[in-house]
C-alpha cells in the first residue's frame, strides 16, 4: 500500500460546549479516494475543515506528508477544497476565478493561460473562459469550482458534499467524472457526503461516522457486506436488522428459528444483532422455507420489486425480481453466507462507539 499522506491523531473538537469530534484517529493514504460518510451532524464536515485548516482542533495533531500542520493557516497548506455551495467569486469571470490561486503564486501569464485551458478541458467546459459565473448552471459552476482547485496541483483535493445541490441525473454523471478526474490527476481525494450510494460508487475507502465517532473504515464491499454494527448496516443501504441469539459457532437463532451461518467467536447463547440485506432474502414456496409468512406490501421499484413479508412477528424487507402478490403465502430462505452477525451495543452510549481505525 502507498504511504500515509494525512494522519489525524487524537482529534477533539467542540463548538459552544457541544462535542463534535471525540478523540478521532484516521489516516489517509496517498492517491486514495477516501469518503467520510455519515448523517448530518456526525462530524464529517468538521473533520474536512480541520484538514483544510478552517478549524483548529481543540486537541490532537494533523500530520501532512510527515509534517505537523495543526496550526498552519489554510493559505499555507498544499491542498485545495471544493465547497458545497461552489463558493465561486461572482464578480470575476471564469478565467479570473480559475487563475486566482495561480496569480497568488506569481505564475507567468503564459503558464496561467495554459493551465486555464487545460483545466476547462478536463472538466469538459472548453471555451468558457470569458463567461460570467451567473450564466452557468449548478453543474457547470461545480465543474468550475473543481477546475479552480485542481489548477494549483494540490496533493489533496477536499470535496465537501460537492454534488449535494445537483439533481439526480447530473449527480450520477458527476460521480463518474470525479472518478475519471481522480485517475487522470493521480491525487488524493477526501470526499464528504451523506449519500451512501455516492460513497459506494466512488470510494476506495469509506469512513462511516456517527455522533463524532468513526464507526467503521473499509472498502465499499467491506462496509456493505460486513457492517460492524447496526448503525452502519442501517446507514449503508436498507437492511433487516433483527434481534438474535448466537447459540454456538455457526448457528444463530432468529425469531425462534435456527439459522446456520458462518460467523464464529461470539460465544454461546449471546444476544446479537443480525443483519440480512433485502436482496439476500430469497422467497420460496412455503414448505421449502426456513420460516413461512404472508406478503403484506408490494411496490414496483423498476429493477426489482420491494416486498414486505410478515413472518414470525417481523416485517421482512425483501427485494426480488419475482412478483408475489399481496396476501400470498411464501417461505423465506437465506444463504448462511448472507447472514451478518454483530455484537449488540451494551448501552445506548455505546451505539456510537469508536472502532479501531
Amino acid at each position: 500500500m502507498s504511504k500515509r499522506l494525512i494522519d489525524l491523531q487524537h482529534i477533539t473538537k467542540s463548538f459552544d460546549g457541544q462535542m463534535v469530534l471525540d478523540d478521532l484517529n484516521l489516516y489517509i493514504r496517498e492517491n486514495e479516494f477516501l469518503t467520510l460518510l455519515g448523517p448530518s451532524g456526525c462530524g464529517k464536515t468538521t473533520t474536512l475543515r480541520i484538514i483544510g485548516g478552517f478549524e483548529t482542533p481543540d486537541q490532537g495533531t494533523v500530520i501532512f506528508d510527515g509534517k505537523d500542520i495543526t496550526k498552519l493557516a489554510p493559505n499555507d497548506r498544499q491542498l485545495n477544497t471544493v465547497f458545497q455551495k461552489y463558493a465561486l467569486f461572482p464578480h470575476m469571470s471564469i478565467a479570473e476565478n480559475i487563475a486566482f490561486g495561480l496569480k497568488i503564486r506569481k505564475k507567468s501569464k503564459a503558464y496561467i493561460e495554459d493551465k486555464i485551458k487545460y483545466a476547462l478541458k478536463l472538466v469538459n467546459l472548453d471555451g468558457f473562459e470569458k463567461r460570467s459565473i451567473n450564466s452557468l448552471s449548478g453543474g457547470q459552476q461545480q465543474r468550475i469550482a473543481i477546475a479552480r482547485a485542481i489548477v494549483n496541483e494540490p496533493k489533496v483535493l477536499l470535496l465537501d458534499e460537492p454534488l449535494g445541490a445537483l439533481d439526480l441525473k447530473l449527480r450520477q454523471d458527476m460521480q463518474y467524472e470525479l472518478i475519471r478526474l481522480k485517475n487522470e490527476l493521480g491525487i488524493t481525494f477526501v470526499y464528504v457526503t451523506h449519500d451512501q450510494e455516492e460513497a459506494l460508487t466512488m470510494s476506495d475507502t469509506i469512513v462511516v461516522m456517527n455522533q463524532g465517532y468513526i464507526q467503521q473504515v473499509g472498502t465499499p464491499q467491506d462496509i456493505y457486506n460486513e457492517p460492524i454494527n447496526a448503525f452502519v448496516a442501517d446507514f449503508i443501504g436498507e437492511s433487516n436488522i433483527i434481534n438474535g441469539t448466537m447459540i454456538e459457532d455457526r448457528l444463530v437463532k432468529i425469531l425462534d428459528v435456527k439459522f446456520p451461518c458462518v460467523d464464529e467467536g461470539f460465544g454461546t447463547n449471546t444476544p446479537v444483532d443480525v443483519v440480512i440485506r433485502p436482496e439476500d432474502v430469497v422467497l420460496v414456496s412455503p414448505e421449502k422455507g426456513m420460516l413461512e409468512g404472508d406478503v403484506t406490501s408490494l411496490i414496483f421499484k423498476g429493477v426489482h420489486w420491494e416486498i414486505e413479508v410478515l413472518a414470525n412477528g417481523y416485517e421482512w424487507l425483501v427485494q426480488t425480481t419475482q412478483m408475489h402478490p399481496v396476501g400470498s403465502h411464501v417461505g423465506i430462505w437465506v444463504d448462511p453466507f448472507n447472514i451478518q452477525i454483530m455484537n449488540k451495543p451494551e448501552s445506548n452510549d455505546e451505539k456510537a462507539v469508536e472502532s479501531d481505525a
Binding site: 483544510g52 489554510p74 493559505n75 458545497q84 467569486f89 464578480h91 479570473e96 479552480r148 494549483n152
Partner: protein, 259 residues
Amino acid sequence: MIRKSAERIYLFLIFLFLYLPIGVLIVLSFNNSKSKVHWGGFTLNWYKRLFSSSSIMEAFYTTILITLASALIATLLGTMAALGIDAMKKRGQAIMLGATNIPLLNADIVTGISMMLLFVRFTRLGMNTVLIAHITFNIPYVILNVLPKLKQSSRTAYEAALDLGATPSYAFYKIIWPQILPGVLSGFLMSMTMSLDDFSVTYFTKGAGINTLSTMIYTEMRKGIRPEMYALSTILFLIALILLLFLNYGPAARKEPHH
C-alpha cells in the same frame, strides 16, 4: 375605471401635499418682490446676493466640510463596525444592532442636547464638536447599509480565497470588499444626506460663531423675511435631491456587481 382614476387622484394629492410647499419655496426664490403672495416678475437677484454674502458662503463651506468629513470618517468607522458585528456570534450581534438602532430612533433634539451636555463638560463647542456629533449619528446608517451586503457575501467565497493561497488581507480586498462596496457607497451617500440636512444636533453642538446652512437659515429667518434664504433653501433641496438620486440610481444601487 372609477377605481383607477380614484387611485390616480389619490396619488396626485399625496405628491401635491408633499411637494407643493417646496414648489412654493422654489418659485419665491425667483420672485422679484419681497412679498410672499405677490409675483413681482422673475429674477436671479436673490441668488446673486446669496453668493456675494460672506457669512452665507462661510456657512456653505462649513457645511461642505462637515458633510464630507463626517461622512468619510463615519463610513470608515461604520464599515469596520459592520465587519466586527458580522464576525460576532448571534447574541452579540443582536445586542450590537440594538445599540446602533436606538440612536436612529432617538429624537434629534434629544441627541443634540445630550451631546451638548457631554461636550461642554470636556471641551468648548465649535467645529470639532459638530463634526464629532455628525460622525456619531452617521455611523449607524453606514452599519445598516454595509451589514446586509456582508450577510449576502458568502463566507465560503472568502474561505475559498484562503484555500487558494490568499492571505486574509488579500482575500478581504479581492473577495469581500468588491461585494460590500455598494453598501459602503450607499452608506457614505446616506451619511452625506443626513449630515447635510441636520439642524437640531448641529444647532445644539455648534457653539457661537459657527453656522452650517441649516442653522444659518434658521437664525436669518428669525430676523425677518429674506428671500436669499429661499434661494439657499432651494439649493440645499437640490443638493439633497441629487444625492438621493445618486443613492437610488447610482453605482451603489446596482444589485449585481459588474466587472
